[in-house]
């Protein structure tokens, strides 16, 4: 697989290229020059080859010879004295024809060019004159012959002059022609040699390049082979993707994973071998994260998908992408891992965990049932013993009865502890917070353990700093249970020592913003060794005391204490030194109600107030911050309600309009639409029009309160919202919402009377007026400065209560009267904010119901 091709050596090629071009230029130039020369040479050769002239020298020479022959013929004739002139005439004719040859065509031109035209003209003139005599009568010819013989030597000399002159000129011409040809041939030869040199050099360059390319190919082959080996050694299938998710190359463990040939998959779309979890086709760059990762050339997050083999079988895979540059083209490399084994392992683990959890739950349930079943007969035993105690008994019987009672009581205590463990594990316990006074709570607890302390000859002291007269909000039952267990534990391991109980209200760095009641129980008993420190909270563990002192108990006490603390949102720290003692410190979350305690009776009445078990609520939570959202969800679930989470105001309104919720929890500042606007819209129309809304704000200014009221938010909680505060608000809502029907809130007979007496129109008018004034009353409630306006508040609520009673709003009248009494009874106005909010929420419901009853509005869907 050639994934990565070498891109190096690009720049070193540049000069070679230039060299190549210069060679090419030289070669082309050489070819042109050579062609020119060859053409020239060929032309020259052609000129030489096709002789355009007869042998001029010979012809001219021949003229001299013919003249001589004529001269000889004349001499012979004169010597012989013959009558026959035929031979003489023939000789003349030949002589004459020779002059003709010389005078015509190229030879004449040659003679003219060489300046012998006059010489030739003279010869011709002589020949013409002589021809007249030759052709004339024989006697005249014979008379003329001696004269002719005298003239012919002169003619011969004239012919010779031309002949010699031409001969030297011809030699010059031939020489120059030869020189030119020689030059051309020489030039051709030099050019040819140069061409050979150029060609040779080119050849050398080509051979060098050839060897270089071979070397480079070997190098690249080696790199590719090494890379292939590396890639093929991985367990991942590696794909190179081109445009449109088309597979360009496949490698790595592809063949093993997909049981298909690498070559066969090339060019196919990615979808042919991979589908997404939801069986949809994979779309690259589907998430912004993937796109960003690819653009940044880093590997994307691992995605899950399903691989598809050629035979149709499927297997789970994980894949990721990375962008790389191959041959200057952007390609996407994809890594696919077979996770079939991991998936199988995971499902095995999950199954094992579920089984273990089921077994543990079954154990808890079993213990719960057994404990519960044991408690009933034990109560029977105890009851019976008490009955027997009333009888007249002998001293011996009384003693044994005492033993039986103590044993039964202890057994009951053990059973109840075991039961509370199982209840905690099965999450059957719920928090029931109430307002209580810390110091009084501790005093009471101390009293409960006074007997045990006396038995072990221990002293108990309470020291408090900032909790004097402090009233807080929390589950006293659970708190009592935890601190009780800690006290019991301390008393068990301390002999003739002192137990110091201290309490403090403080914030913790562990949960900033939340308030904790910190109670520490310090003893000076035997202490715990550091190796045992981790074990003490485990179930059924009893650490033997120093000196082999046997400690009675189930070994559940501290375990239960820790579970309960955890359940309530707190925790227990322990510090201990062997032989010196231990300090157990409980952090218990409480509401931040800082009101002075009333007298003991009222507190006990308040804390003893039984909270009814309420149906789970369907709650819509709008919160943009993810962490807050998770905390809310968890808190709501823990409280046994069903949350539905949305992330902004728009989603909140959409959900609220569609579905009728029992309560809406809403953050004030959210993207897209803030809480106030969302509340306004929910109130305007839709299924949750009348659903109570709990607003959550980071700051609590008067401005916010007014806005809240105007927009229809019923409760206001400030961040961070503790579980108790939330529970309190939700309890109020479920209490009122659960009061199904109008009976407890409205008095229908009163309403009927009003309608009867005043008539429909007048009644409605009255109702409207009542609603308007009561709205105003509640709006003003927020603006009271409580410490100064107790009387004012008492008067207002008295008036409003009276009107409410008249209009048939029974419950509202009751609540307002109660508030009025409280305000009058104590100048410091011990009316909690929660109570005010409750009253406000009650008014919201009452208002809707009244509107229905008096026909001011259509019946509400929800309440």
């Amino acid at each position: 697989m050639q994934l990565f091709k070498s891109r190096s050596r690009e720049s070193p090629d540049q000069p070679q290229l230039t060299k190549k071009y210069s060679f090419l230029g030289a070669f082309v130039f050489g070819i042109v020059v050579l062609t020119f020369l060859v053409v020239e040479v060929l032309a020259q050769i052609e000129e030489i080859r096709s002789a355009s002239e007869d042998n001029v020298e010979w012809n001219i020479n021949q003229l001299e010879i013919e003249t001589l022959k004529l001269q000889l013929a004349v001499g012979d004739y004169l010597a012989a004295g013959s009558e026959n002139t035929d031979d003489l005439k023939l000789r003349f004719d030949i002589y004459y024809s020779r002059i003709g040859i010389i005078s015509g065509g190229h030879m004449a031109d040659l003679i003219v060019r060489n300046g012998y035209v006059e010489n030739l003209a003279k010869i011709r003139a002589f020949a013409e004159e002589t021809a007249v005599i030759i052709d004339g009568p024989t006697e005249q010819l014979v008379q003329f012959l001696p004269d002719l013989a005298g003239q012919l030597p002169e003619q011969r000399k004239a012919a010779r002059v031309i002949s010699l002159g031409l001969l030297s000129n011809m030699a010059v011409k031939t020489d120059s022609q030869r020189a030119k040809l020689g030059y051309l041939l020489g030039a051709t030869a030099i050019t040819t040699v140069l061409m050979f040199i150029v060609l040779g050099a080119s050849l050398a360059v080509i051979i060098r390049l050839y060897f270089q390319s071979i070397a480079r190919k070997l190098e690249v082959d080696f790199t590719v082979a090494r890379l292939d080996a590396t890639i093929n050694a991985t367990k991942d299938a590696v794909l190179v993707l081109g445009h449109d998710n088309c597979i360009l190359e496949a490698g790595g463990a592809f063949e093993t994973l997909f049981k298909d040939r690498k070559t066969k998959v090339r060019g196919k779309p990615l979808q042919s071998i991979l589908v997404d979890r939801g069986m949809k086709n994979i779309v690259l760059n589907q998430t912004s994260e993937t796109t960003q990762a690819i653009s940044e050339k880093r590997r994307t997050a691992t995605l899950k998908g399903i691989g598809r083999r050629q035979d149709g079988t499927r297997f789970p895979v994980e894949y990721s992408f990375q962008s790389v540059i191959v041959n200057q083209t952007n390609c996407i490399v994809m890594f696919i891992t077979d996770v079939a084994e991991q998936v199988q392992d995971k499902s095995n683990l999950v199954e094992a965990r579920n089984k273990a959890q089921a077994a543990a739950q079954e154990k808890s349930r079993f213990i719960g049932i057994i404990s519960h079943e044991m408690r009933t007969p034990l109560n029977g035993v105890l009851g019976s013993l008490e009955v027997i105690e009333a009888e007249k008994l002998s001293n011996k019987q009384i003693r044994f009865l005492g033993v039986a009672k103590r044993s039964s009581t202890r057994l009951l205590g053990l059973v109840e502890k075991v039961l509370s463990v199982s209840q905690l594990e099965s999450r059957k316990t719920i928090l029931k917070p109430t307002t209580f006074c810390v110091n009084k709570f501790l005093e009471k607890l101390k009293d409960d353990y006074q007997f045990e302390a006396a038995n072990s000859k221990n002293k108990m002291e309470i020291s408090t700093s900032n909790t004097t007269n402090l009233q807080v909000f929390g589950d006293t039952e659970i708190l009592g249970h935890i601190v009780g267990n800690l006290l019991s534990n301390a008393l068990k391991f301390t002999d003739q020592g002192s137990i110091k109980i201290s309490a403090n209200i403080e914030e913790s760095s562990r949960q900033p913003g939340a308030l904790f009641l910190v109670i520490s129980v310090k003893d000076n008993g035997c202490g715990i060794s550091s190796e045992n420190l981790d074990k003490i909270f485990e179930d059924f563990v009893s650490i033997p005391g120093v000196g082999g002192k046997t400690i009675s108990g189930t070994g559940l006490g501290l375990g239960i204490a820790q579970r309960l603390a955890d359940f309530a949102g707190g925790w227990i720290d322990v510090e201990s030194t062997l032989n010196l003692g231990s300090v157990f410190t409980l952090h218990f979350p409480v509401g931040s109600r800082r009101f002075t305690c009333l007298d003991t009776e009222e507190i006990s009445a308040s804390s003893g107030h039984e909270q009814p078990e309420n149906a789970p609520l369907n709650i819509l939570v709008a919160e943009d911050d993810e962490i807050s959202r998770t905390i809310f969800e968890e808190q709501i679930r823990t409280l046994g309600h069903t949350p539905q989470m949305v992330v902004d105001g728009v989603q909140c309104v959409q959900s609220a309009v569609k579905t009728c919720f029992d309560a809406i929890l809403m953050d004030f500042s959210m993207p897209n639409m803030d809480g106030l606007e969302a509340a306004r819209r929910i109130r305007a129309s839709g299924a949750s029009k009348n659903t109570p809304i709990i607003g959550i704000s980071a700051n609590r200014t008067d401005d916010i309160r007014t806005k809240t009221r105007d927009s229809g938010i019923n409760f206001l909680l400030s961040k961070p919202v503790s579980k108790n505060a939330l529970q309190e608000a939700l309890l109020t809502i479920s209490e009122l919402a659960g009061s199904d029907g109008t009976e407890p809130i409205l008095d229908k007979t009163v309403i009927a009377d009003v309608l009867d007496v005043l008539g429909v129109e007048k009644s409605r008018q009255q109702a409207r007026q009542f609603i308007a004034t009561t709205d105003q009353f509640f709006a003003e409630l927020d603006r009271y400065d409580w410490s100064d306006s107790a009387t004012e508040f008492a008067t207002s609520s008295h008036k409003t209560a009276g009107r409410a009673a008249l209009m048939g709003a029974r419950k509202l009248a009751e609540v307002l009267s109660e508030l009025e009494d409280r305000a009058v009874g104590n100048a410091e106005l011990p009316v909690s904010e929660v109570e005010i909010q409750k009253a406000q929420y009650l008014w919201l419901i009452t208002k809707r119901l009244l509107e229905c009853e008096y026909g001011l509005q259509k019946p509400a869907v929800h309440i």
Partner: protein, 171 residues
């Protein structure tokens, strides 16, 4: 020269062919002044062992004409005469070389292989007129210089002999 049987047979056949074709008529004895005497290896003879031609007898042979330029005159001229190939056939020449001699005793050798169709002629008319001795007459061997570049060379210019008076044919 030794001949194989096949060659002998071929030669005999050839001569029989020639005897019945070209040598159908025996050369008559010329009536006027002879202008050309062919001696040597000739079979169709009329005077002693030679073939002798006067002007009329030459004209009775098949006529071939060539129009060509040459180095001896300006422009082109039309020559008429008997082609060398026809001429040699007529006289029953048996040699391989012609020794052609002019009136001025200028002698040149022409190989018989020159005697081809579209080759040289033994011209007796130039531009339709007889050629006098003063004008390279009476006979002039002319090659078709314009028609064939091969003939535009010094060798052929030398063979273009004028004022022809004798031919001797030898092996």
């Amino acid at each position: 020269m030794k001949m194989t049987t096949a060659n002998v047979t071929f030669s005999v056949g050839l001569w029989i062919g020639l005897a019945f074709g070209a040598m159908a008529e025996k050369l008559p004895v010329p009536n006027t002044n002879p202008i050309l005497t062919v001696s040597g290896a000739v079979s169709n003879t009329n005077v002693k062992n030679n073939s002798v031609f006067d002007y009329e007898l030459l004209r009775s042979l098949p006529v071939t004409s060539i129009e060509t330029g040459s180095i001896w005159y300006d422009g082109t001229a039309i020559f008429e005469g008997v082609s060398l190939v026809d001429f040699l056939a007529e006289i029953g020449a048996e040699g391989s070389v012609l020794e052609v001699t002019a009136l001025n005793e200028y002698t040149i050798e022409i190989p018989v292989s020159d005697a081809v169709i579209d080759g040289p002629i033994l011209a007796y008319l130039m531009n339709g007129e007889q050629m006098p001795v003063r004008g390279k007459g009476p006979l002039w061997i002319i090659y078709p210089y314009d028609q064939n570049i091969r003939y535009r060379s010094e060798v052929y210019y030398a063979r273009s002999i004028w004022q022809v008076s004798r031919i001797n044919i030898r092996d």
